[in-house]
Symmetry: C5
Subunit: 347 residues, 5 copies
């Protein structure tokens, strides 16, 4: 179940042990234990990029276990022509490595491109200041995509780390130039100005930089999610404060209505008052009730207005004074009505 | 109380000092002060992985103080066969070290596998947008597992650090190849292509990478917990805002009922009005009360709707105007009923 | 479509391949794949700073694809004179590189200068303790600018990284001194005290430091946004607590009014009481209602005051006791009025 | 005011300048400007660990300014015997250095052991899901201990840094081996297998690792505090949501009572209705009031239940429809009672 | 406008270009582009510490542009004597550099000492658990100081970086020892045990460590601000929960009063009941109203108590059951009163 290429594609099946003997590799080298790895072993480059497992020799690229992974189309339609085209003078392993790394970077980019607009859209609609409560299905979408983004970040980091491990040591980079070690012509050529190790370093560095840029974009996106969450919280809190003030204003209204409604209730008692037969009393008391509650409400509203604008925190003393003032005013009004009614009853 | 192995298992007891003399080690080397350590001393590898303390010489592996730690089963059933199997050509210390490191990585992985699904499940149910308040027993489970995760992260970090300390210096890696230093055959063999130091580096690096992947998974899980907590907060806040709006709408209803109920209370007073005997007055006033409060409520609701949709914060001026408008409307209605009742009393 | 300069400006069009041949560069070198790069290749410095792509040789600076990017004015009005002025004795590539790096740093600084006052202003107005709810349009502005700031930070980081890659290795710095390699006079001069490589290092380090300072300012700004968000939250929460206390105080008032209003309702029932004809009963009961509710309210308010000042959290027991005390007081008052009314009815 | 030791303790006072001359040190070396330092100077090790200032020469350890710092007991009871015991063959400075570093690590550990259980207990009681509001005295304790933890972390970091500075360079480690430089016997001995520099490195590394483990524990504790704070917030928020729902349910009840109470108020007006003398009317209207309010409340509660379970955010449209439905139902009920009463009045 | 010193102070004015020629420096070296820099150029040390720009040669220290910066007093009163005192044998540049670095560290320390107590005081008063709402003027103070702290942190970091850049390379440290390069006596002296480069390294390291300690303190302070903010949030939330519970308890009370007040309203209707003339009916119904509402309130309160203590989140089912129970109880009470009143009317 392998796949050989040098321009033309041949597909055959072989056992792992046979393959090891053929390339004089050790069984351990073909275990592919890590999800992302890139190593040079005995004149072969053995690499794994998630699902793609490949062995790259001087004149062929073998892709292992490629079936059922959605890679077939890419392998046949894109990889084959890319390897065949001999536009630049560099040896085969350069073209093959470039094709595979390009594929990996493209895959990472595709995943980021898939996640990014969803996140941006979701954030856009969540941050909208008009909404009162966050749409929870959108929150779910955000959480899912944020998780994908974390996984993508880890994958990018691992890809970068595996590249960096090769780039950090000059010897490993040289080991990656498979052709150099065997071909005497190359040895000559290198004295003519083209240094294969340097070319390999450039190639790897190029993809390292591309991965770095993807990583930067992913990090920026994470930061944007954090910032947006703060804004969502401030939005929700603001809405709540606005509603709470409205509620408070209405509670003030209800309170003043209750206070003056009590007068009505008092006059509704089956008890003897002096005003039962006074035709003006009804209008007087009713007017007093409505106007009084309107006045008190207005007073409370303006008190609230001043209260919220002062930068010093309200002290209990102050509200007590305020309460006493209100009681005074209330007593004054009560006094007034008593005087009026007495005046009336005498009259 | 030691445990000797080279294929067959022998168990015997010895004092520490005797052991030191036998292996020409110093007493200090066998103190095992750190929970995770891996050092080469005088042709022995001395390692400790949490509960497992072992000394590895060229031809034997001694496990110290193994009783009562739940390690017996692993030691007898798995370690012995693994050491006995001579599938690859590498010397004994490689097999022994591989077996122990594999055991350690498996232990770490098992701990992560235990913690991960619990956390994912708990988060899944906590993030559920339908719930109004977080299930506190689940929060407790989450906190416990988050703590375990932190401890696991520290253990992974310490395991990685102890590996890295060996890997960072080529000399230390060479010291770990016990056979190389004594066996002349190995010296020859190394010129045949198998470099022991490199093999050791690969072996250690392999387990380092596995630990790294575990660390990445643990880190992703931590990130997911953080993200989910934000979502839980937004969910709870959204619920609160929704409830607060409902509350506000009902308060508006209660307020309008109170306002127009005051009229009923006024007519309930034992005071003389001109309408006592008018049969239509009852229906008029009752209808006015119910329709008026319905109208005012509707007006308040639409005001709230507009209020929450505007992006500019509501100003006190605005609500004052609104209040005045309401008062106007209310006075107009009062005027209307007075006119009607006067008309009626004349009629 | 190129742009040649050595004092006088010439603009001509050439194909990429021709250019490559002319400068004996490889096609790959002119792909400009990364948004920020700075490399020396075959006696040329190839650099890209976002939109600006340039090739710098020993005696000329070529700017590629400069049309339609808003760079024309800068190129003609500023770059040309800067390159022409031969104030200091250093070779051409130094002047050109300095002009370009200065331009890049200026661009970054301009972007920071644009974002910074907007953020500071927005934060200033959002942090204002007088406002009850955050202005959501300002939050939107903040979010937009915070996003720009993140992008700017990434750009600064990438600029710094590309500089650092050159500075980290002495050889690369030397490759940047194009003149040194070819001009024998320079070789002599260097023995006279002016070391070109060191000059180049100083030049690059200078711009690296400037970018570092920009990066520091951006980081401080990010920190300020975070701190301000905390303050906004505390502000909103404080407002809410103040409103909630007012609401609670009013609810207490409404509660006491309801409690004593119940007495009025009781007396309003069409049931026979002994006091119907007692003229003092009306004033007694009305007074009892108003004074009782006033007293209870006051008691509740002082209870609230004490309640909020104690540092121990209120226990259910305590509030129960409080409730019982209230009920007792209430029963005592009821008893009093019953006694009074009985006394009256007998009288 | 110094303290000399080589097995037996002698205490004497000397001026700093004399001491400097005696040991041929410079005055600056004895200034002890940093709270934690460890340096080798002219065949002396000068160290400071917070309060403990010491000079260690080849055959004696001088502790400076030891009075009034709570160190006396440790110095006399523990340090003296430790220095006297010559169990291992290493020179004096090793024993002395080990004793002091062990003392420092013990001090750090003691501080962590003091802070850790307090923090764990406080968190345990704060995280308790049953409590409605955080105990503020416990919050204060937590804040104090969290501050101590930060200081401890800094101290551990500084201790690690000062060790690392010595460990990073092989020469400094060798300078620490005071005996090596002067004693010819040691020079021979070193060829016998005991390398003093390596022993010193092991000794320092050992204490470095212990400090690292303490640092890890402190970091884990910090993480636990952060996680617990999130859980506390979620707990408080959940409690609030639960209370808010209860409040909302009661508000719904109050609203329906007000709505149907209005009917009672209407019938309480001193206006002529057709039902005054109908004996069934009282029970009819009363029953209508109670049953109606019960029905409406039930309807509102089930509406709330459905409202909170839907994942889409409630729209204003929906609540309007709901309001209209309620009004309809209410009008239907009103219609019903009117029909009934008319039917009755005819009967 | 320069300032020359070697013991005695001379102040004169010179142009930059003249100065450059005199010291054979380049114009670029005197541009002082970075706020903190420390470089050796052609046997001079050129340094800038914020406002202080200085050139240090072997026998003189020139301070540039010193006017109008508040530095005069320090320059004349402190710097001059410090430079004049020749207590230690080290050359002039050591004394001058020490004086300037000491001044810089003192300035940083003074800034930290200014900010630290303000922050601690503000936090102390904000964390106070007794306060209901954060004092917003104190929040403003905190924000301002937190900003200053960030700036201070950046300055400390930049100071440390500029020191580290010198310390990292041994050659740069040697360049800083101006005397060494020219004075033959020094060359001899160095063989007598005093190594100038090492002395310079110690001097710089000393100030680096002091800056590090300042940085640690600043970082701890930042951490304390973060921790305190969490505690403030928990405090505010706790207060809110306590108030909300009180509110809920009062709402429960109001609800039960409304519920039983409805009975009173019912009896207040102008409808015929059988009890109008029963003298006991008034007391029965009134007692029923008050006792009933008291009972229901008590029941609701104990329900709330149990509700908040259970760790499982309340389910809608449960509250429904609770509601039904309440309705049942209420119906039972209604039944009772009906039975009683019927019994009475028959009697």
């Amino acid at each position: 179940m392998k796949f050989d290429q040098e321009g033309n594609v041949t597909s055959f099946e072989k056992k792992k042990t046979e393959l090891c003997q053929e390339l004089s590799l050790q069984a351990r080298d073909l275990r592919f234990q890590h999800t992302t790895s890139l190593t040079a072993r005995n004149n072969c480059i053995i690499l794994r990029m998630a699902a793609l497992k490949a062995i790259l020799t001087q004149e062929s690229l073998m892709v292992l276990d490629f079936r059922g992974l959605g890679l077939e189309r890419w392998l046949v339609l894109e990889l084959a022509p890319q390897l065949a085209s001999q536009t630049h003078s560099l040896p085969f392993e350069f073209r093959a490595l470039e094709a595979i790394l390009q594929h990996k970077v493209n895959t990472l980019q595709a995943r980021l491109n898939e996640v990014e607009p969803v996140i941006l859209d979701t954030l856009e609609s969540l941050v909208d200041p008009k909404i009162l409560s966050a749409d929870r299905s959108k929150l779910h979408v955000l959480l899912q995509n944020s998780k994908s983004l974390s996984e993508l970040e880890t994958d990018i980091k691992m890809f970068k780390d595996s590249m960096l491990k090769v780039l950090d040591e000059d010897e490993t980079v040289e080991e990656f130039c498979l052709t150099k070690w065997t071909d005497p012509r190359v040895f000559e050529e290198s004295s003519l100005g083209i240094d294969h190790a340097e070319e390999m370093e450039l190639l790897l560095e190029n993809y390292y930089m591309q991965a770095e840029e993807l990583g930067n974009r992913a990090r920026e996106l994470k930061g944007l999610i954090d910032d947006s969450e703060s804004v969502i919280f401030i939005n929700l809190d603001s809405h709540r404060n606005v509603m709470m003030r409205l509620n408070l204003q209405l509670t003030m209204g209800s309170f003043s209505l209750s206070l003056f409604g009590l007068i009505g209730v008092a006059f509704g008692m089956n008890l003897t008052t002096a005003f039962e037969d006074d035709p003006r009393a009804f209008w007087l008391v009713t007017g007093f009730m409505f106007l009084g509650s309107g006045l008190i409400w207005r007073r409370l509203l303006s008190f609230l207005g001043r209260h919220l604008e002062t930068s010093v925190p309200p002290r209990v003393m102050q509200t007590h004074t305020q309460t006493l003032l209100l009681l005074q005013e209330f007593l004054f009004l009560t006094h007034l009505i008593v005087l009026l009614s007495h005046g009336h009853s005498r009259g």
